[in-house]
Symmetry: D2
Subunit: 439 residues, 4 copies
Amino acid sequence: MTPAPTLSAELRTNLTRWRRDFHRHAETAWTEFRTTSAIIGALRDLGWATIFGPDLHEASARLGVPTTDVLAGARARAVDQGADAELVEAMGEGFTGVLGVLETGRPGPVVCFRFDIDANDLNELADDSHRPFAEGFASVNDGAMHGCGHDGHAAMGLGLASVLTGMVADLTGTVKIIFQPAEEGVRGAHSIVAAGWFDDVDLFVATHLKSDDAKGGVLTGVDGYLASTKFDVEFSGVGAHAGGDPEKGRNALLAAASATLGLHAIPRHSAGASRINVGTFTAGEGRNVVPRTARIAVETRGETSEINDFMVARAADVVAGAALMHGVDHKVTVVGRADTASPSPELLPFIRASFTGVPGVAEIRDTGGLGGSEDATAMMKRVTERGGLATYVQIGMETSWGHHTERFDVDEDMLAVGVAAEARIALDAPEFLAGLGRA
Amino acid sequence: MTPAPTLSAELRTNLTRWRRDFHRHAETAWTEFRTTSAIIGALRDLGWATIFGPDLHEASARLGVPTTDVLAGARARAVDQGADAELVEAMGEGFTGVLGVLETGRPGPVVCFRFDIDANDLNELADDSHRPFAEGFASVNDGAMHGCGHDGHAAMGLGLASVLTGMVADLTGTVKIIFQPAEEGVRGAHSIVAAGWFDDVDLFVATHLKSDDAKGGVLTGVDGYLASTKFDVEFSGVGAHAGGDPEKGRNALLAAASATLGLHAIPRHSAGASRINVGTFTAGEGRNVVPRTARIAVETRGETSEINDFMVARAADVVAGAALMHGVDHKVTVVGRADTASPSPELLPFIRASFTGVPGVAEIRDTGGLGGSEDATAMMKRVTERGGLATYVQIGMETSWGHHTERFDVDEDMLAVGVAAEARIALDAPEFLAGLGRA
Amino acid sequence: MTPAPTLSAELRTNLTRWRRDFHRHAETAWTEFRTTSAIIGALRDLGWATIFGPDLHEASARLGVPTTDVLAGARARAVDQGADAELVEAMGEGFTGVLGVLETGRPGPVVCFRFDIDANDLNELADDSHRPFAEGFASVNDGAMHGCGHDGHAAMGLGLASVLTGMVADLTGTVKIIFQPAEEGVRGAHSIVAAGWFDDVDLFVATHLKSDDAKGGVLTGVDGYLASTKFDVEFSGVGAHAGGDPEKGRNALLAAASATLGLHAIPRHSAGASRINVGTFTAGEGRNVVPRTARIAVETRGETSEINDFMVARAADVVAGAALMHGVDHKVTVVGRADTASPSPELLPFIRASFTGVPGVAEIRDTGGLGGSEDATAMMKRVTERGGLATYVQIGMETSWGHHTERFDVDEDMLAVGVAAEARIALDAPEFLAGLGRA
Amino acid sequence: MTPAPTLSAELRTNLTRWRRDFHRHAETAWTEFRTTSAIIGALRDLGWATIFGPDLHEASARLGVPTTDVLAGARARAVDQGADAELVEAMGEGFTGVLGVLETGRPGPVVCFRFDIDANDLNELADDSHRPFAEGFASVNDGAMHGCGHDGHAAMGLGLASVLTGMVADLTGTVKIIFQPAEEGVRGAHSIVAAGWFDDVDLFVATHLKSDDAKGGVLTGVDGYLASTKFDVEFSGVGAHAGGDPEKGRNALLAAASATLGLHAIPRHSAGASRINVGTFTAGEGRNVVPRTARIAVETRGETSEINDFMVARAADVVAGAALMHGVDHKVTVVGRADTASPSPELLPFIRASFTGVPGVAEIRDTGGLGGSEDATAMMKRVTERGGLATYVQIGMETSWGHHTERFDVDEDMLAVGVAAEARIALDAPEFLAGLGRA
């Protein structure tokens, strides 16, 4: 293998700076206008081609896009927070994310890296024990917080683009870096895949920072993704004065509460792990009004697609039954979906070699489970279906708080690890693939 | 008014003896074979005509009749406990109860008294603090206990028949005493009414002992009955091994639990009082089996029939929705029904006069609410619809435990009160009715 | 009686104009900054004394005051919408409402009228079938809508002040008009009463428009208020990734759902009407996070204070049990409270006389139930405890939509009815009270 | 290996005869009086020593023993159905089961086989599509049915004893056959182990017929038992008349329903499979009584003991919280418990060899999961802790209905398979163990 590139002090500084800037201006799924704008700007400065806006997505395949009002608010806020107004305009109704492409002009394979960029629907902890707050880069955006490390991912992607730009003379073929929006809720990958941007990829690597692992522990092929379906349920009843006419109401809140208990009572499955979560619940118009409306945000998961399908089918009965019980209408909207996928076994030794010797790497394991869901699986499936190789790399961090909590933080030392090892992947992939008789 | 008759020491002894015999051999709704047999025997000894068995009931109007097996067991037990085998045979599939008729042969009105005779589905307290247990006349029949005083009512009915037999020379017209089965669950009155036995009644008095009133306090016209519907719900799902195949089950127990919570969540009604009770719940085949069957016994009530209808309609949605939630079938069977009814106002002064001066009567009030349901209302409705007068008298007892509890007991001193006052009613009714221009 | 005053065309126009202005700028409880500012301005123009801000309230007795942030936002909005900035500043942390006082300088009783001014937590229907929307005076404030007619009440109060100003020469004693904030949630009366402003009132009249009555039907003494307690429950659990670590979570949303079903299952009470409502439910941080927080807004009611106390006590058990079930903490905060109260019987003939012959009055009844809760009851109790007379008048409107619904609208013809009749009350009260040997 | 013995036609006939006799007279846990009596008789006829009654069990370690009344009824029924009255008397308060011992008098290891003998709490299907019913050997005992094949196990145990008796000259050491009671509910093994009967066992084989496997498919070492805890919860509230005094009740049925939903809502565990089942639910005293008592039978399971402990701990909170919610008392009683255990890997090749070539064996696999719980694990643990080898063999049957269903049936062809292969195990175990340097 080529030795791993050494990162300049300036690039290391930039990695932290980018990450904190994204962290501070956290944007949730499909509203990553400022984040995307900043990435496009940086890629253009490096001379990369950029594909974004409606070109990036098959519009009909997008899932869980917010309302026009929410998008308009997010666009305005992005511009307020320094985004390029023209780019934001071009992203229109939530066509966020960007694909950066570096064409070397020399024949060779298409190597693609994926970094997701969206934040979580969380309010960040405002407490000095939480470093982002203490050091002044906590999210300034209500209800948006990078609680899963995608701020670090986006920074790694820009770092990787920088390093590769510097070593372009040594590269062959094409490098693609996809800055994917809307990974939370597993909503954003489908429409990019459907638009064909993964049809020519020969080697695909997705990357994720992980908080509850040893610092510098690397997994070359994360496995065990849970298939998942995300859906919203709206219950619509009849309001009434709770004191004067309680019998005239049809109580949507009660229907949603009954549904919640019923959803959690869907049985375990003997064929493997399943999950159910009613993540949010919003109902009612006022204390003294029989609630007319209620909305719950639900997700199911399964160790296999069959198990997830079982959960979804039973959940449909539960919400229909809860609506019937309380005499209200209901509507189910699917807003996200993820499949299971497995890393290509023949790719793992190459990934292991690429991370070996990179400063900061403590130990390397080949496979292990994540216990979550990911829509990088949609990209992995497309790449492997068409004969390419794909994997999902996890880099362990020394941080004590779980993902998707208000205290989550990134170990910024790990950003350079990903950049260095993945630059090496881009460099050596052509030879590796040729050795397998591919590409 | 005629003075109230004085009861002989022998009759007083008999009242207690009858009551304790009925108490000891408590029989629940539609299984009052021994009780009916004993009453028929006593009436025959007095020379009364008796109507019983299928003659007494319009078969299709009976509600909540137990299964053939239960009836067969009860018949066998009754014979074991001393019932006349021939009479029991004649009562067949639960045609219990008896109408005693005393024809004076002299023209005059038809005056009818009603006493109910069935026990509750309770196990009697086995504790020396409970007099029936301490004195050896606690129920010997599992799951059957006179917890509402119908043992006392039946004894009063026989006492009244005895007294009236002794004073037959002073009577005119016809006296009927209906010993009604299956009042619990408001099941037994409809079929007797439907058979026409109340079509000729000019004056009707139902009687009830009441525990939480002053000793000797009499209400001449109980009002405020709640309309009520009694129904069973059976849920049928799919069993499965709870460890090996939980996902293959369709859990009837869970459906019934969801239904229970949903039923209790039916809203209050602004037009008046409502009630809901899931009184019993039986489900499941074994600890490690996903429950395949569940059954709940439910009752609704309403201050008006409209309110009760509202409860029933909403309950139908709840149980259907709960079944749908958990993927099980369900079946609703109505087993009892009561209406509201009010005493005839013009009758109350006569009732008041009849109780006035009777030894043991402490105070007399005219109206007041019971807060329960009664199927004597079906008789009251029929009598008043056809131009007769009807009321429901309550006699207070000094006992501290509520009706339908395992500690309920009758104050036997009050039995004579009802007998004496109601004999006077029978005596003076012709003159009273004539004074109103009736009969 | 003095003839009822005839209202000028200008005043009639003003009544509608005021009402629509208040409607358009609806402000919910304790945020009635603009509404109060406008009323103060109008009263000052008429030469009335005004008491407002912290002078009006005993601060510690206020219930259910919003957060500082909410108040700050509401103040800013009020000023944006034309409120007097200095007055808004003076109302500070939600000390809204105003007491107008007209001292005639002549000896006589203190007569007080009460009009409430706050809007509901509702979003107004945006549909041309809804007149306020079609005619352009629908609420411009999100989550605030006059769905109970307090916009009309406030306009009536100003109309009454205008008329009384014009006839001041005929008045004796003192007239007070209290424009009460925060009636919704029964939060605003207690602190005004506690500040002593009702201690000298001899005759008190509260007024309410009612939608589901005959047009022009007047009730001189509304009775049957339900005692009520309003409280919030916050559940605090532990968040966790719903896919990766579900067992680490402690699910506050589930606790709130269990509590909701348990609250609705609190039994009916045999002593009279009761109510329970979980009016709003907000929980969860994101679809894939085990919910860490949940909040429900609850109210109980009872036909008597004892029944309401029963509901509150059982509710406390329910929420504590639900928290224990799911391993979460909980906190209950009482934010509103209302008692029962009855109109003074000796006052009703005078009220009847005052409304008799007023144009627009169709029929007058003396008493009837509202089936709701009101904190005017706190004022009524204080006035009557100290020997004064009090009542609560209801004026029926021909509108088909219930109170507290998104379609509620006021029949503006009825505004003049209240103004004319109540001006007459102010005029004739001294003589009426003197006739009773009072004041 | 020694060739597998050929079973005589008579023995084959006996296997079926025994199995059907046990099936017809199904007896549930701790009431296997007739079954044990029959087995003791057969073992005595063969000349085996028998250990039974209180000698077999450490009394304090028994779990989930029925009430004295139930045991008395079961003893009487057993004698009615042909059991030896003296033996039944000796088994007293549920000391059922028997250990048969064949001492060869020659030095050698102790080899032990386990067959469980109890039936399930099921009512057998009464339908001609069900062979036991059609052919007249369906269970005659209400609420007891062999729905898990223990009738077949018991027959295999007797067959094995017969064959070994015939070849005693070829055996060395000691053979033990334990006919274990009360496997259902994982209640019966602990007290036998605690009494020391497994302390000297060198090689242990438990055997189970399995319905949803290929006919003749053998698993030499069943793995993947779920740890499990079985417990009952009793809720005790206050009864009241549901119409008259609903507010005086404290509703135990509602508490149990809330607990049921809460138990099913215990979260899935990321470390592996978990299970929860509320298998039975019995509550209430009558339709019109607020339910005073409720009882639920619950079981938890976990892929590891830690997961099961998590379930048990959360369940304790749920039931305590549900009781608090509804103001009732509760009591939890643990009635069964099972651990995880794994077969000894070095034993499996010997088991494979023993089954190889046995007529009726179709295929042999080494390990696989059962997905249930077993208290043979307690025996396996004791044997392996003390240095012995242990496994659990499963024999597949061609029957289409799941275990623990009302339609379960045994493929009687498989009985001979177990007998032949396990006789060979007894024969060759001394040499096998010697080859490992054991015994």
